[in-house]
Every structure is written in structure tokens, then in C-alpha cells.
Symmetry: C2
Subunit: 322 residues, 2 copies
């Protein structure tokens, strides 16, 4: 049942191809343990070459136990494993611990990819993670790009992250592990936004299920899937209008449909800044205001990005961080 759902998701979103070399992120928590078990179970059918990557964040005292658990798992499944340990103390860098941990995790996965000549990374996000993420973003404020939630498949340069469990409920995973008599470690995937996410998970979603709609998780996941597809289409249109350098003719830009214009401005920021983290709706509104209302030679300062208006153009450039 869970195996078939996994295969359906893989086919629907074209996540995995026959013969793929895949780095599987395994923290030792229930989701990632189920992921590696399920991928191992279909690896013959799909001729997969799997490799486990385990990163010890060192954020919990028991983290070395997790590593030993994953080592034993890898051994019994006969899947090669790469472990690494990082520490966050006194890095002096900007950004929250969650963002640093996320960046470190991805950096590690990409390293393992390069070493083992793989381009695909599989992660254990579930339908529950999806519902929580969508709800978190709605509550904090988002647009179409955020409503799409966690994408089943996402490119990062030449690498590709896939989430084969994204349509599977956490409770199905727990049942699966129970049947297999496997006791996974405590889940630490909720490192990001730990406190806020836990409020959503343990308080808000149960209330919504009890009083408003018992299928709220599936409802939110469906919405993410649909708006994800809408976003993908809009993004493809916006990208087709993107100049080689983030430097726009004022006249052309002003005449675009507001939806395309906003997306194009976000894309321009993304191009010079490398991502759109910390870029909010208000920032985009400010660029729109610069474009529409402010005089030539005005400048807008955003996180990591500077936008300058000249007589005829709107020019985006990176800003050095102190």
C-alpha cells in the first residue's frame, strides 16, 4: 500500500528514472528511515544506485546515537554511507541557526553527490510536513510561490532534490515502521522554525481537524499541488521575459500584467542575491513603487540587493554584506 503510493508519486511527478544514482538524506528519524527502506525495496525494480548521507548537526546530546543507528541500518541494507559532523558554535555568520543548518545540510548533500557522481538527492518530507509548511506560510504571509509549499522535485543548479514521500501521511509511515518492527530515532527534521512549526503541528492543525475539516492536511496538500502548478506556469512565462542581465527597460516592464511583473521582479532579486530568502511582499511592493512613482536616480535597498532607477532602466545589483 505505502509502496504503491510511493511508486505513484514517483511516476506522477517524474521523480526517479531507471538507473538513477541517488543520495538519500537519512537523519535516523521515522520519515527518512521509511524513505531509505522503501527506496531499497524498489531499487532492483528501478535499477537504483543508492547512497546514504547522514549529517550530525551536533545540536542534541544524543546525536551520535542517531549516527550509530543509521550506520547499522546502512550495513544491514548493504547501502554505502557517508557521515559528517558539523558544529554551529561561534560561526559569526549572519542568519538564524535554522538557515545555517539548512545551508550546511545542502552543502553536505551536494559534496556527497559530487563524490559519488550522483545528481539526485532524495529527502523524507511527508504530506504532514507539506500541510504544516503551507499553513505556516499562509499565517506569516505569502504569495503563489509560497503556497506551492514543498515541491516534490526541485532543481538546485545541476542537482535535483526529490521528495518521494510528499503524498504520504506521517501516520502511514509510523504504521509501516511498526509493522517492520523498526524503532527510529527522534525526528530532528523540524529543526527549521522549531517552535512555530510545533505550535502549528501540535495545536493548530489538531484544532482544524477536530472543529473545521478532518481532511485539512490533504486539503492543504492538494492546494499546494495545484498552486504549485499555477506557479510553475507563471514562472515559465516570467522567465521567458527575463533579460540576460537583470536590467529592464522601464517602459516594457511597466506595461506587463501585474502578476508577471511582480514575479519578474522577484526573479531579478533571486538572480543577483542567489535566493529570495528574507524578501517579502513589502520589498517587492517597494520595487514596484520605485518603478511606478519615484523619480530617476532613486535607489531601493533590499537584503542583498540594490535596485536603481535611471532615466530609462531599472537595474538590479548585488549588495555586499558586512
Amino acid at each position: 500500500m505505502i509502496r504503491q503510493k510511493l511508486i505513484d508519486t514517483i511516476k506522477k511527478h517524474n521523480l526517479i528514472k531507471r538507473g538513477d544514482r541517488i543520495i538519500v538524506g537519512v537523519s535516523g528519524g521515522p520519515d527518512s528511515v521509511a524513505l531509505i527502506l522503501l527506496l531499497a525495496a524498489i531499487s532492483k525494480e528501478f535499477s537504483l544506485k543508492l547512497h546514504i548521507a547522514h549529517l550530525d548537526h551536533g545540536l542534541r546530546p544524543s546525536s551520535s546515537k542517531d549516527r550509530i543507528f543509521v550506520e547499522n541500518m546502512a550495513q544491514s541494507l548493504e547501502i554505502p554511507l557517508t557521515c559528517a559532523k558539523i558544529s554551529f558554535k561561534k560561526t559569526g555568520k549572519k542568519g538564524s541557526i535554522e538557515e545555517l543548518a539548512r545551508n550546511a545540510r545542502f552543502k553536505f548533500f551536494f559534496q556527497v553527490c559530487r563524490k559519488f557522481k550522483a545528481r539526485k538527492i532524495a529527502l523524507g518530507h511527508t504530506l504532514d510536513d507539506q500541510a504544516e509548511t503551507v499553513l505556516m506560510r499562509i499565517i506569516r504571509g505569502t504569495g503563489l510561490y509560497g503556497l506551492a509549499g514543498i515541491l516534490p522535485k526541485r532543481k538546485f543548479g545541476s542537482f535535483c532534490v526529490v521528495r518521494p514521500l510528499i503524498e504520504i501521511r506521517r501516520k502511514e509511515i509510523e504504521q509501516f515502521l511498526k509493522k517492520k518492527k523498526i524503532r527510529a530515532c527522534l525526528d530532528i527534521t523540524n529543526l527549521q522554525d522549531l517552535y512555530f512549526r510545533n505550535m502549528i503541528r501540535n495545536e493548530l492543525i489538531p484544532l482544524l481537524e477536530r472543529r473545521y475539516n478532518k481532511n485539512i492536511k490533504e486539503i492543504l496538500a492538494n492546494m499546494a499541488e495545484n498552486t504549485g502548478s499555477d506557479y510553475e506556469y507563471l514562472l515559465s512565462r516570467a522567465k521567458s521575459l527575463m533579460p540576460a542581465k537583470p536590467d529592464f527597460e522601464l517602459k516594457k516592464l511597466s506595461q506587463l500584467h501585474p502578476a508577471l511583473k511582480r514575479l519578474l521582479l522577484r526573479q531579478a532579486v533571486s538572480l543577483v542575491k542567489g535566493n529570495t530568502r528574507r524578501i517579502t511582499f513589502r520589498h517587492i511592493k517597494e520595487i514596484e513603487d520605485l518603478l511606478q512613482n519615484r523619480p530617476a536616480n532613486s535607489i531601493v535597498d533590499l537584503p542583498g540587493t540594490k535596485v536603481a532607477k535611471t532615466e530609462k532602466r531599472l537595474i538590479f545589483s548585488p549588495k555586499k554584506t558586512q
Copy 2:
């Protein structure tokens, strides 16, 4: 302050033009009373011809009091008034009382429009209504079309409904009326989905404000505005692909981007059914399944619509209701 916000909204969404003839729906509740007062206050500046329309639903024992209140108001503002009374008992028609009331209200507004040669109807929906609507739809399940919430401006055939208060908070309206020393009637605009909406209004939104984000209403209204613009763009693309009759070439339809395809299928249903009420995500999925997977000569039965697949075409036709 509230007057300037109203004018900003009018300009931003191009709701009202100089010299407009406008039918204003006034129930006697705070929102619609504030609306008529504010429109009366700017009517010279915009050379507006206002006309009040009041419908007595007869759903509350005190409804004739509301009518008298509105009559007095119209008299003191020197604005002409048309009243009507309807009754819902034993109509024998299908549909919920909320849907019937909504249809009756719009039918009445359109009649008044025709009689007074107006094409514009102004209604008193507020930012609070917007936030509640968006949250209701998210919880019940929706796509981009539903996330857009209550549109500031919407065409119905040759008529146009505008909502000049859509960016104004209910508490600002209450302050405004208090300052004017006007005690409006009890609000009956929440006739639709009364119970569910009141749970959202009195329980869920206060919880979200208290524990998650004190600006949740503005956040939801912003999201509605943004996704509304995204939806408008997608819809314009879908409409440009719409054949004269809802009868599609299978091959062309299959090759469209999923986002456009889904929207086009919804539009086709809307064309034959007159609206997309009671059409859910599952219904659209079923048409997609018919298109993609089922053999020729298959049929899908939806509320008010029949979709037939032939060798080369997908044909939508209306279904008679019993």
C-alpha cells in the same frame, strides 16, 4: 482617514468613474450604512448618481425595522430608494437557503439597475469579510480561483459589482459610525454559511491573532489581492484558448500546461452551467482523468454539466436538473 482609504481603494482598483450611476446595496447593517454615508460624502466630487437598494429577506422578525431604518437614512441623505421583500418558504427549488438568498439579492439588484439605467452595484464587504472568506475557502479546499477571495470588482454580464470597503477593517467602520453617532442595525450580511463563518470569525481568527500573527487579517487580504492578480492573468490566458463552443480537440487540450488545462476545463463547465458553484477540485480531476485515461465514448456526469469524450474531441453540454 477612512474617506481617504476608500478613495485610494477606488483609484487602485478603478472601481468608480466620474459620473457613474451606482446602485448601493444597503441592508442597514454597519458595513453597508458606512458605505452609503461614505459614497454620499464623495458623490459631489465624483459626480455620482446614487440609488439605494434594500432587500428584506424576511428571515428575521425585526426585518421591517431594518427597512424603516434604511428609509429614514435615504430620506436624510436625499438619495432615492427601492425596497422589496421576498420570502423563501416552500420554494421547492434546489440549493441551500444561503444560495437562494444570494441569487434573490442579485436578481433584485440587477432589476433596480435596469430600472434606473445603472450598471454598477456597490456592496459593503470589508477587509474582515475578505479574511474570513479566504480562510473559509482554504479550510474547505480551494485553488487559485478561491484564494483570490472577494474581488474588489467583478463583472456579471453587463453589470459590475464593486466593493469600495474591501481594504477597510470592520473596526474602522465601527469607529467611524460611533463618531457620527449612528447606530446601525444588526448585520445580516453573514447569511451565507452563517454557522461556519461565525466559527471562523469568532473563534479561529481571534486565536490566530492572539497566538500566531496579530496581522492575520491583513496578511490574508494581501494574499487574496496577490493571488487574485495571478488568477486574473492565468484566466486571461485560458480564455484566449477557449473555443467558441465548449468543444475541444483532445490532442490540443492534452498538450496544454496542466495549470491552463485545469482552468480551461473549469471555464468550460462555467460556460454550460452558468457558474462553477458545487464544482470541486475532484470534479475537475475527473474530467482530466476522462481526457487522459478513459476510452472514447466515455461520459462524466457533473452537477449541471455532462462531459463526453469522442474519438477526437471533448464536448461539454448542459444537464437538465430534475
